[in-house]
């Protein structure tokens, strides 16, 4: 940890590089980080909010948006973390800085965008659907847990992809069905009455409790269940432990393989 603290300025530099390299030379520049999720949300809204309108959720666009922003953060982070070590091979071959900083910077840039877009959504959702209840205080806790959870997974994905180049394609193939199985444009209770199916949808998909907890606070205006809170905290801790362990074991040879 002390080692990471020493490289704080490097982290700052990498975040800046990440922001600049992505959209350098484009007219909107960094604004694309916000425009892309908004366009994606518009497309999904058209699909599930206008075309398939069989829903019992009032103000359905807001219901959809809250889930979607969380999903977009989750999936974009994984997809951009996977090739990140290969992209920064030149830096890895130059100095023995902590390699975690590279996927860390990528995820952090995504997280900043996510918080910004989520704030936009919250500005509309809380007055219309939610309430200014004390349960809103839980939101930062859940968001930090989500960040840690995604960070852990991204560390794992990045170092795995550096060793096995199949990881990114597998991931992008897996994310599509994963999206439709996640409670984003529906709540698990909407599509099944079977307790086992519902349980599986709510708890076996690790991103589902995060989506539901955030939607519960922002859209329903209630605190999430204790079980959900415990789940997201434990999932975050486990993901980070797993990610760091895997990264620690597999990062020594990075300068040779990237």
């Amino acid at each position: 940890m002390a080692e990471l603290a020493r490289y704080r300025y490097l982290f700052e530099q990498m975040v800046r590089r990440e922001l600049r390299q992505k959209y350098q030379g484009s007219a909107l520049g960094v604004a694309w980080y916000v425009v892309n999720p908004l366009v994606l949300m518009g497309a999904y809204y058209l699909m599930f909010g206008v075309i398939f309108t069989a829903t019992k959720h009032p103000d359905y666009p807001l219901f959809l948006m809250v889930g979607l922003v969380v999903w977009i953060f989750f999936s974009q982070s994984l997809m951009s973390a996977a090739p990140s070590l290969l992209d920064q091979g030149a830096l890895i071959r130059k100095a023995p800085f902590p390699r975690e900083l590279i996927p860390g910077a990528v995820v952090s840039v995504q997280a900043v965008t996510f918080v910004f877009v989520l704030a936009l959504v919250a500005l509309v959702t809380i007055p219309l659907r939610g309430s200014l209840s004390p349960s809103l205080l839980l939101l930062p806790v859940i968001l930090v847990a989500l960040y840690v959870f995604v960070m852990g997974l991204c560390l794992a994905v990045a170092v795995l992809h550096a060793h096995f180049r199949d990881v990114a394609p597998i991931l992008s193939a897996a994310l599509l069905p994963w999206f439709f199985l996640s409670p984003i444009f529906f709540a698990p209770g909407d599509i099944t009455d079977k307790a086992t199916a519902r349980f599986a949808m709510e708890w076996l998909n690790p991103i589902a409790p995060f989506i539901e907890a955030i939607r519960r606070v922002l859209y329903d205006g209630h605190a999430p269940s204790l079980a959900a809170l415990a789940y997201v905290l434990v999932a975050a801790a486990l993901a980070l432990l797993l990610g760091r362990a895997l990264f620690g074991r597999m990062s020594a040879e990075l300068a040779v393989i990237v």
Binding site: A90, F97, I257
Partner: protein, 263 residues
Amino acid sequence: MSAAAPALLPGEIVLDHASRAFSIRADRGGTLKELLLGKRTGGPAPIQALADVTLHIPPGQTVGIVGRNGAGKSSTLKVLAGIVPLDSGRVAIGGQLVSLLELGAGFGRDFSGRENILLGGALHGLDKQQIEAKLEDIIAFSELGDFIDVPVKTYSSGMYVRLGFAIAAHLDADVLLIDEVLAVGDEAFQRKCEARIAGQVEGGATLVLVSHDAALIERTCERVVVLDGGHVVFDGPSAAGMEYYHRQMNTPTAASVAETEGP
């Protein structure tokens, strides 16, 4: 890196029975198929870049590493820089900062020279204040003038090296590792670099220099290590070392005939 080892002085270098082999397959990253099917098959045997190398370099010493192409010189520097781990043996460096300068070393091509200075310092763990304190010196040393605010992809190779050297030589590293870059600049800049290196060494820094330039090695280094096939075949004062190296060069092996022509 060296958990149970006795504390080293800043700038001290220890290589203890160090070995490292590289696979020379074209696709160095594996695929999941190979992982699932078990061991990799086929392909050429790995190259032994360092074979049981033991070296002790006291702080402030200037060491030249010479040898044929493929003798393990650059690999040794990579190991000393902490970028490539060993297969077996031990490497330990005293002090915090090891600066490696090599040809074409990674700069953000879309970034200006100035931004690359900040990044170069940050890569070695310096903070903003520390780098900014050196910024003007580095810019002045590089002689890049207005080019410092232009993306480095527009630089000539000479400018590129000047920037790289200016950064590496101003980080106040405990150990300065230089891999065959000084030959690129013009003569005036080379002299300036040598003077800068001499100043760093006087300040207590250890220098390890890889070069095919015999005159440069003799001017700059007090000790010479000759590598061949990953082994240390000579280790001693530079005059005797260069003599040994020249003798070795004049008795070409079949494989070295093409290699020693060099790039």
